[in-house]
Symmetry: D4
Subunit: 250 residues, 8 copies
């Protein structure tokens, strides 16, 4: 049932040719394929706050420029390019001086970073090599308007480093925990505090690590509750998940 038919029906109601009850019956039997013109719910607040996100890995410069121009035309207020190389980022920055590049996170964005939420997100890594993925999570959460505190290189090989950040961990609304190798950090942190933990396995390791699979399995199998896991190296996903947990409305 397209718009024209719908309008015609309403005209018929107006003219009294179809009674309101009969019209209702017709509606009840509408197959959902006719609902194309109905708008999907537009109250998707968080994604709107984040703006459009472009996963840039393996995209060519030419493609990125096309996408950028398209979004400029749409007057998209916020734009985020994830996994973008310094070289490509700088080329786009020459086209628009409002673009900001977080090199560690490999994120290029056009957005004001301003804390809009009362709570705090902690982003913790086991080693220094986990930082790029963790920084991606942190940066995304910040763009969404969250307050983020970073604690890097706190892995189980130096577990005492966790003691010094205990206060920050326990007072966060959610913790992102990035670890490669054996990926034991989320289990240990979860043994210390009752804060929801987004476990973020990284592909750091070699041999039977299987590019992060070992870390992912460790995290999925944690015997300590309060942990949920995202994909290997999915810093964007971890940051977004932490963000919407922290931005809870009720």
């Amino acid at each position: 049932m397209d718009q024209d038919k719908l309008l015609a029906l309403f005209e018929q109601i107006k003219k009294g040719e179809v009674s309101p009850t009969e019209a209702l019956d017709q509606f009840k039997n509408l197959p959902f394929k006719d609902l194309d013109f109905v708008k999907i719910d537009s109250h998707r607040l968080f994604r709107k706050q984040l703006g459009e996100v472009i996963y840039s890995q393996n995209k060519k410069m030419k493609q990125l420029i096309t996408i950028y121009n398209h979004m400029k035309e749409l007057n998209q207020p916020k734009i985020i390019f994830t996994r973008i190389t310094p070289k490509k980022a700088h080329q786009l920055m020459e086209m628009d001086n409002q673009l900001i590049y977080n090199e560690k996170a490999r994120i290029l964005y056009k957005a004001e970073i301003k804390v809009q939420q009362p709570g705090q997100i902690a982003v913790v890594t086991a080693g220094t090599t986990d930082i790029p993925v963790a920084e991606e999570a942190a940066c995304i959460a910040e763009i969404m308007g969250n307050k983020v505190k970073r604690f890097f290189d706190c892995g189980v090989a130096g577990i005492h480093r966790l003691f010094g950040i205990y206060d920050d961990l326990v007072s966060s609304n959610v913790i992102v925990c990035a670890a490669g190798m054996e990926g034991a950090l989320p289990s240990v942190v979860s043994g210390l505090v009752d804060v929801p933990i987004i476990a973020l396995p990284t592909a750091i390791g070699y041999g039977a690590n299987f590019k992060g699979v070992s870390a992912l399995l460790t995290m999925i199998n944690s015997c300590s509750p309060g942990i949920a896991v995202v994909n290997i190296d999915n810093g964007f996903g971890a940051g977004y998940m932490a963000g919407i947990i922290n931005m809870r409305r009720k």
Copy 2:
């Protein structure tokens, strides 16, 4: 927007309080969450022909009886219980003498088997142990109204057996090919005829067969085109897929 509001709106149109154009605008902005009462498209012919299907494996007799009674109340014209043991099947048959049991296929059904389609489906197996799964496929396709021909025990170890059924294979609209062990049969059949083949791996085998995974991989990797694969032991899925291919309307 629930039914009451909709009826109220129609009354307003009738009374001239809201013009048809204004009403249309209101509709255009309806979020889809309000569409609950709209019926999903009911022209799903094939599934209707098949009736309700109950996967009975691991269901207790008590649960099966509850389901059966529920469907009887709904006057469901066709009922199919798949993966049902002889013992449970016979208990249900005592409650309803219209139920028919295909023991090989482990299917209990209430439906008239009558060919309603011009084309033919061939169901071929590599060995005799693949028969229950293949028979499940055949029986489902028959209940849907398809003509099915069975050719069992034609595996690669006795590849010449395929010669004798060549005419039947080449004149079918679709072939279901069930095989366990190394699962090479669909590749061989596909090398002979240009008929679409639904490859149906079975869990027959041992050791590095991994309960049918080896057969599934062989079929997915076939270098001969015209093959698509369903899950291990998914006789129901293969039969249904073959059925809707054969029942093509245009």
Copy 3:
């Protein structure tokens, strides 16, 4: 440094034999192995609210009774037995009429279920066979003091069922999404609402499902953000994670 030595030190301070500054220096150099007697942080609110949790699968009746008696002696106000069979549950209930059995969830507990949090948790399942695991999640979250709404059998094969519960989904603080087979439900729900989703794969399926691994992989790989995953059939973990997300303090 044990208690006796510490007391002796304090006596020395009192007597003026050791100055407070000198005592501080001694403390700064304490190796952590001497800290055994120091209590671990006791502000672990949520776990305290949950009480002691006993994973009862494969535990014998005798073991369960020993554990129960031990906790009774400790005057443990809340006790939770997860994955406990009806038979064993009823035996324990005969010993203590305050124990309540949620048969669907396979949880036996001694606790008052009372909503203590403003927000709401939605627990959604793809099929009816996913209910025990989902109910385990729901029951745990309720015992923790959360308001939980259940929506079962909303899988992708009948995706329109999600329309009717849209309002409930979008107004929840967190959604637990249980699915077996191909496990696509969390992706679909995440495509509709911006609420954090705890994806809970179940071992429902056969063949290349690998006892839930396929569902787990689907969920981990979701292209829709706002999803984090727990272990296969880990209803307890999903419920606990959803609970602490909803119970956020700031």
Copy 4:
């Protein structure tokens, strides 16, 4: 029994030295190794319509030229090079101006694309990165003489996009559904329409996606019937399978 012997036998029949019945007996006992000279069934219509197909990935320019020249000598009316780079394609196009290059599909072909079948094939993708593989499927089906309609970027993250193409989906004879990441699209489409679906997993994804394995498993395990699966990135296979389903003769 080679041709000379056969001719000799016929001469014997002619001369009356061997009776027709005796000759028949000799034939009945021919071991099949003597049948080399007998032609394989030549009624393989679809493959003939497709012509010769050359999988060009990893083939060197020199090899491709040799193959091209060989087919030219054979006066092969149709030639198809799949997975061919623009550079190599253009070099061959300089040799033969009848060659056409579909860059998106990475297919170079010499064939007239003309619809010869009444039905329609829909090719749907979850994301934009799935397009090359989907376009390969579409192009192959078109070269075979099928009418193909493309619907790209309709993944579960934006599931409402499927509503707008419902009419096209439900009126197709077969749907090719390409998806990477978690690969949930075929399940969702199958939940909407009763059309046979060829699920085409793509290697798009990272981490626990395992280069498309996760998508493949999702599709194989779909709880919604009417889906069969081809190999990861096997656009050619999906297009061919869809083509022969649509070209059904009876």
Copy 5:
């Protein structure tokens, strides 16, 4: 082209209506589907010597009796039931006192064991738990008419045991080497002698052995040449392979 048509053609040749050369042309163009009546090569000596082999695992007594009776009717001179339990074997032996049961090998057979080949096959196992599978191999090779020598419990944990059987190993035509756990025995034997080795992994082991997969991988990856591998626990296959290597005709 069926027999009737063929006979008719021969009659035409006889009558001179079709010349021998024209008949030959017709033959050259016969599609192979018409060759159903032509017998497959019957010179399959080894399999004939082995007779009919019935894999009895998971077959019910009733099925085994049906198969036995069927073969008796066909006057099958040799019958072999593999993987048959003592209980079932003895029931069949009561029906036919020519049946012999090798309990270690789990083989019931009706055949005279008589060495018909000059060479020798050595069957070696790593441990005592590998014996049933190895004995299956040995028994099959003997039934085929080979001379077999058994050397059990010679694994790498006691590698010196191999010294005592060196002469027998080096003078065999082929060695079957059965091993579970880490499966290193074939590598070690292959480092000592230049005799072809059929490596036979067994499912003996636990944990990361994965029911024989570890042993299989060890054997497939052997850095010592002269080894080829059969499936886990495939004693029948190893024995048959060794048998036909030893029975080489030229």
Copy 6:
């Protein structure tokens, strides 16, 4: 060269028919197959101390009795049955009152447990369900003559429990660390002390734990050095390895 030939050679030397230098030349060219009669080095102290070890899982009572009687005849001073059920153990104990059963460890042995080594082995478990496997390790090490201290239920979920045993850990010569689930304990212990750790994964867990594989991978991938791993549930192997490390002679 067998004994007779060797004796003959010596007679020839004695008679002066062969010079000592000529005899040496003959020896240098002996193929090693002739060395069968030479005894393997008998200085295998530890295994001798351990006596004969019988892996009893899946062995029938009848087999165990045969083995026991055989060893009694050989006057074997020490006998160890591992993985033996209480029922079978008690039956053997009725035959020989010197046999001792460690039920937790599932070990039946005839040996005096007496510390013969100066150092200490610590056996630590993550949970209570890991105890049977850990106890097997402890019991084996004790039978070998080592001093063993047990520390059970110290997993990462309650990491502070490690503080209380720090002194014992750091003063051990070797630590056996048993853990199931995510298996993070060895990493954590290794982060605290510089003692060699034998990591012992157990099959405790469910879902993506894959019967201990996840724990094994965690341990193999540990980023903290000083860890080496044995097979899942291989308590015997861990205990033996710890024993020979502690029994170092130099």
Copy 7:
């Protein structure tokens, strides 16, 4: 017991200080560690015929030259470099004009190829891309002195091609069967002839082929007996195994 001691003993025998019987007793108790000077059996005919084999993949030119020079000094009559690139091969050929390069097989060798065995080895491939690996097998077998016949591109997609080579297959002593993709060729060939088949999986394929693993599994699981398998792409191993089967001495 080193040479000096042995010589001293012989002197003692000569002098009558030790009787031959006493000397024998001393010998019987020699631990095998003293046997270092005893030569290993030198009757390893086949490997001697093959000469020294150097796996050249990933070896640098400098390393290859060092190895070559070393073997030249040893007057090694036969040398074989496998997996060597044309460039490196030609550099070595400039140093020694007796070196011959088989480019297809990627083998550089110094040896006269001369048939020294009565029997024949058939080397069959499924596709053209399997040729390098198959040619490696063929070339190795030829260098060993075997007669080899090659039959390339006979895969299941064109199964009738096997008919024309039936006579050659059935009269071979052993068949090497190389196949990638789904790897079904060995099963099919084994269904036709009773000749031992060395199945040689190749890494040809993509997606769920897992670089040859799918082909390997197909071959290991073959339901047709008379097949044993070597590692993926192990042309050398397949050729060597076929060679020693054909070179059987008795």
Copy 8:
């Protein structure tokens, strides 16, 4: 409780405002988060002896220089760069002539190699390609102050090579056994001597070797006790583990 509060408390004790017993009570209830200022145990002898270790693979020259300078400032007496390329090593050596490069081991270090332990470590490899990983183990153990003996190229294909080094093996305190391909060497060595073996799988191999996984599985599954395994190519870990076993204090 921070330092200031602690100092204040001590002042109170001094002044008699708080009794020593009351002070003790306050301490007993300290949550551990207040212990940040307490120093972790500093008696980590071995790691101190090793100094700081930098895993240099994939680190850029610039990063390595930063790290080097940082450690120079700290006056770190020992520095070890593992997995460092010759080019990068030489650049650092130009900055500090005390740095020594072990090219085979790919280790750059500043440390005096001096044996400080009585016992001996044997490092054995199966092939020559395993040497870099084995040399890494040997070099690390030497830097720690251990005596190391190397025995390379002793794999199972030439098992007799082990005879010549038997005395060295049996008199070592610990053996590091590196092997790729099928990884059988540790099993064989363990069958000969009762010395603890650190099995070190290497990624040498191809096809079903899965980059060392096959070797790792072989080692984990060894039926010969006295073996524990480290990660694939983890020479550093194997050397460190062997070192601390040999450096046992009691």
